[in-house]
């Protein structure tokens, strides 16, 4: 059955009683639930849709006789809001109570549809012409500080005479000067761990081979000789880059390197004993003069990878 429309004539079984002044919609089902009939004899009564027998050509036929209309309650307008004052999703898709479409003429100049499509596409083309040439400069602008050359300068970090016992990790703190972009030169605190290695541990670190360090171009920067007993480890945990500590673990009955972040444990030689670390501690270039003064090259390697990739 069609939806009854506003202004439609309403007929009872015996005679015509007036026209529809309001249509009441159920907010959940979106169906028309009642019509309100006004005019001669309708009396503004609110009639449920179950009383509507048919809707044909703008004429609504009721099942009721005109003298029985008084049994229906009159419309209490204050109990309702209009569809303009309420937000019901997709209501307009379900309602066809206006009599037909209400039309507004398209201006003469707008009647050429292909031209409208052309202009729509043209706005996209112009947008692309603005955006595309900017993409590369913007990317380069943002990438400026991302890759910088390695610094291979030697830094004094202290004196190895501090170290009294073999195979014990000793932390050496030092200041490093950084000059970042436009910023004034500043100092940051860093640390490395230095070990006076016993021959057994030294063998574990170097495996009988000298250790070579290179810069980006592959040029040799320094070689750690396998028979120098002082070994220096970068202070950065190779798991995810935290700072690790030297800890006595009663359960293991020995002292080890422990990273508090994700609990990676390393032997004094830097070998992974337990925890999630993917590779041993990173050995750095070290040189010790006759007086015991230590210098290192402050290198950093990418954390979390099996291979050692230098990033600083």
């Amino acid at each position: 059955m069609h939806q009854p429309r506003l202004k439609s004539k309403v007929r009872c079984t015996d005679r015509e009683v007036g026209e529809i002044t309001h249509v009441i919609v159920d907010p959940l089902s979106h169906d028309v639930s009642h019509i309100v009939v006004g005019g001669n004899g309708g009396g503004g009564r609110q009639i449920p849709m179950s009383e509507v027998q048919s809707v044909v050509d703008g004429l609504v036929q009721l099942r009721t006789a005109s003298n029985a209309l008084a049994q229906f309650p009159p419309l209490k307008r204050e109990d309702y809001v209009t569809t303009h004052e309420v937000e019901i999703a997709h209501l307009e898709d379900h309602l066809h109570v206006e009599s037909g479409e209400v039309l507004v003429p398209l201006p003469t100049l707008e009647r050429n549809v292909p031209r409208r499509t052309f202009f729509m596409n043209l706005t996209h083309v112009i947008g692309a012409l603005v955006a595309l040439p900017l993409a590369f400069p913007v990317l380069k602008y943002l990438m400026k500080p991302m890759y910088s050359p390695f610094d291979n300068a030697w830094l004094k970090v202290g004196n190895v005479n501090r170290i009294k016992t073999d195979d014990v990790g000793m932390q050496f703190k030092y200041k490093k000067k950084v000059k970042e972009a436009f910023m004034p030169e500043a100092e940051v605190d860093k640390n490395v761990w230095i070990l006076k290695a016993s021959p057994a541990v030294l063998e574990e670190v170097y495996r009988g081979k000298d250790m070579e360090f290179r810069d980006q171009t592959g040029r040799l920067v320094w070689t750690n000789k396998k028979d120098v007993p002082y070994v220096v480890f970068s202070g950065k945990c190779p798991h995810l880059g935290c700072g690790y500590k030297w800890r006595k673990v009663p359960k293991l009955g020995k002292e080890i390197f422990l990273c508090p972040c994700h609990l990676s444990i390393y032997e004094p030689s830097g070998k992974v004993l337990d925890g999630p670390a993917p590779r041993p501690l990173d050995t750095l270039p070290i040189r010790v003069d006759a007086g015991g003064n230590v210098e290192i090259i402050d290198m950093e390697f990418k954390a979390g990878t099996k291979a050692q990739t230098r990033i600083v």
Partner: protein, 364 residues
Amino acid sequence: MSGQPNVLEKVIAFVDERVGLKTLQAKMLNEPVPGGSRWAYIFGSVLLFIFIMQAVTGILLMFYYVPSADHAYASTQYIIHEVDYGWFLLSYHFWGSSAMVVMVFAHMSQVFLWGAYKSPREMIWLVGLALFGIVMAFGFTGYLLPWDQRAYWATTVGVEIMDKTPIVGDFMARFLKGGATPGQMTLSRFFVIHVMILPAMLMGLAGLHIFLFRKAGPAGPFQGTPAELKAKTDYFFPRQIWKDMVAMAAVFATICSLAFIEPVVLLEEATPDPGEYHPEPEWYFLFLFQLLRLKIFSGEFGQFLGAIAIPGAFMALLAALPFIDRSPERNIFKRPVALIGWIAVMAAILIFTVSAIINREFLD
């Protein structure tokens, strides 16, 4: 109507005629809530409230905060120790971020348990997931700004985790850090992301979220016949708004209390030497942090699995959820897989968070 309208009424009528305020207000307030208002529906409004308060306190913090490596720490300390009520605004902003995360979890859980992500509300769910990501990004970027040790190390480890993304990871991490290691460039970038990019994204997507929600209409309860739902239906105003207001007031009081009881205290200034500090992320990232301590996530591949693949797969599963779960059944007690899945995820997060906290004492 009696008497002539007074000046105020005339002004209101003048504006309304030109703007259509009354219709707009009516439309905003008169939204039928099938089955009636409920306390379960408060979370979205509460999130909007928390966001507005974060924006207000955030703007106020920027009056003194300087995003540079040599001033960020000092300016934050100045806010805490010198500026009148600076400690309160900063602590409110800090605890507000935690409240935001709690409410996001509650909101997502409610929508999940009520089956409200199902057709025709798939788009609302997807936009909601994007908003979830933005809230987490807010927490992560904001954490660096005070430039103390806690800030520095949370960022160091967090960005290292992103670095583990295959192919683009190294580029992404360097792009975010503005170099190989965290420094001034990182601070500048995180600042811009935190105060400009994320707020713009959040406002746009939250607007879209609400628009789509209004377009589809509220889902209503997951059980009850149409007649029962209709009988209990009310409008958004006043009953639901009343519940929302009570919840907002409670959240506001809670955040204020936390700011009073546990005001923000900074650690030492950021530097690549952690000293005696044991790095740890904010509590809502602790479960992920603890996850990465597990033996099964060791080594290069294990780390990729724990840090990228599993969280990524979980988010992808959430995004695919309305398209996989096409059954119209919304009653959570008739969706055993969904119910067990939700309990399992919540239990896992709880267990990992608690074990991370227990682990703390073994480290000292």
